[in-house]
Amino acid sequence: MNRISKCLRFQLKNMLKSTLWFLIIYCLAAYGLSLLTYILSGGEQQTFRSGLSVGAAFYIFVYVISDYRTTFNYLMINGNTRTTIYISNIIANIILSVAMSILSYLSGFADAFFTKALSGIIPGQISILQFIYPGSVGVLELPYLAALFILITAFSKLYGVLNYKFGKYFVTIFWVGFGLAVISLPLSGSDSFLKIGTIIEKYLWLGHPNGVLLAQASFIITALVFGAAAYLISRRQPQTEPVS
């Protein structure tokens, strides 16, 4: 346990540094641009939207992938086993997900504050969750986003593990496959759209009275599957790649 907590401490320290940089740059860009637009438009009324939850999702995806390679190798030369590193990494990723969900949730209030302060508009809808799941309680956005971010970390982890194992072959196949899927979707007719739409609807439990909670369960179960796959691949992963 002591070893896991040491690995965790190291990972959190690294994570804090990167995340602070991301938040500073993101907030400056998001609010700064909105403010600039507001000034340039001569003070026209407008609604401020930082969209931090979307930015955080991208950040988590990129951070977890890049962090995997560097942290895995570095912690290994410090006498840690793959299992120790993996467990501490899961805990670190959960902490990152929860922290980002809190910040994203709070950013909604910051958006409302700026909108009201500068434009005089009192925003009625600050939660995107209430738009997707009408009638849901706004505070449920917190666990919903946390579960979604955990899913993203698990997916990124699996991506990172496969990237480490297969390198450019995996990256090429993944992105070419993804691109082909996106391109071929409109060509395959409206039925495909409907089928995918139905799958997403079922996965997110849209229209269900407890949809918000059930969707979180969907996210966590998928995250567990991705996480288990990543662990199975990484537990015999050789330390081969130098940090680039």
Binding site: F10, N73, Y74, I77, G79, T81, T83
Partner: protein, 296 residues
């Protein structure tokens, strides 16, 4: 198994596709010794070290460290500090942060000693790893490895990119710290001649197999040139393990690698030949070329 055995590998085999990096490799190393691990490029040195430290997994065989199975063993691995040839440090970390992290993970890490080493080697702790030159990257690995004071410390090519003065400083520091804090070192290197005096035992690997394991003094005693007229040399080395022969003009030079008893010594004295020592580096070349060094 002797109580003094710190590391034991049993029938380790590792293949990369059709290439056999380690072939049924077995060795037992004792505590509190400095071992030199020698071998040509691709001989299997790094693969062996990687498997010992669980960086890679063997196809067959096992490794026991401190009396326990070493594979992914969290109780064992913190007692091993392995400084590989490749760079596994995080480029954006400062030297001071790397040392602090090492101190967190290696319980015996001596930060004061690390500071002294940084000062002696001229390593600026404020610099980021990515700003270090090749030589200073090696110095950082040396500092971490020595200051870790891990019961088993392994250096893979520790002196890469270092000039002669710094290499000499490393060998002196290694011996000094080993004397004051006895522990086991395995040093893999290509610079055999200059490092031979540091080693107590030398292990030579060739094509994934251990072809020679001797105490350095014993190795020097066993390896010698016999030179003179071809007929005299042939008579002198008759029955001995000749690992290399060449003609220089009319003089024949044979390199012998053999334990010598009194009878052999007397015979060599009576033959009209010159006897001279073989430098360790030359011996290494002969052994890995001829593959005839097998445990005389």
């Amino acid at each position: 198994m002797s109580d003094n055995i710190l590391l034991e590998t049993r029938s380790l085999t590792k293949r990369y596709g059709k290439v056999t990096a380690l072939n049924n490799f077995s060795v037992a190393l004792e505590s509190n010794k400095i071992y030199g691990l020698l071998g040509r490029n691709g001989a299997g040195k790094t693969t062996l070290l990687d498997i010992i430290t669980s960086r890679r997994f063997a196809g067959a065989g096992d490794v026991r460290l401190f009396g326990q199975d070493a594979k992914e063993n969290q109780k064992v691995l913190p007692n091993v500090c392995y400084m590989p040839e490749k760079n596994y440090f995080i480029p954006t970390m400062k030297v001071s942060e790397i040392l602090e992290t090492s101190a967190m993970f290696f319980v015996n890490f001596d930060m004061e000693y690390a500071d002294r080493l940084c000062a002696r080697f001229g390593l600026d702790k404020r610099k980021k790893y990515k700003a270090l030159s090749r030589g200073y990257e090696s110095i950082l690995r040396i500092v971490v490895g020595l200051a870790s004071r891990a019961p088993l410390t392994i250096f893979d090519e520790p002196v890469l990119g270092l000039d002669a003065a710094v290499r000499d400083l490393f060998y002196r520091e290694l011996l000094e710290d080993y004397t004051s804090h006895p522990r086991t070192f395995i040093v893999s290197t290509h610079l055999i001649e200059e490092s031979a005096d540091v080693f107590e035992d030398v292990l030579i690997i060739n094509n994934g197999e251990l072809i020679c394991r001797h105490h350095v003094a014993e190795l020097r005693e066993m390896a010698f040139y016999v030179s003179g007229r071809p007929s005299d040399v042939d008579a002198a080395v008759n029955g001995l393990n000749v690992i290399h022969s060449e003609m220089v003009g009319s003089v024949k030079i044979s390199a012998v690698f053999n334990k010598i008893n009194d009878e052999m010594k007397n015979r060599l004295k009576t033959c009209n030949v010159d006897i001279s020592p073989i430098p360790v580096q030359k011996l290494f070349i002969y052994l890995t070329n001829s593959n005839k060094g097998v445990f005389q």
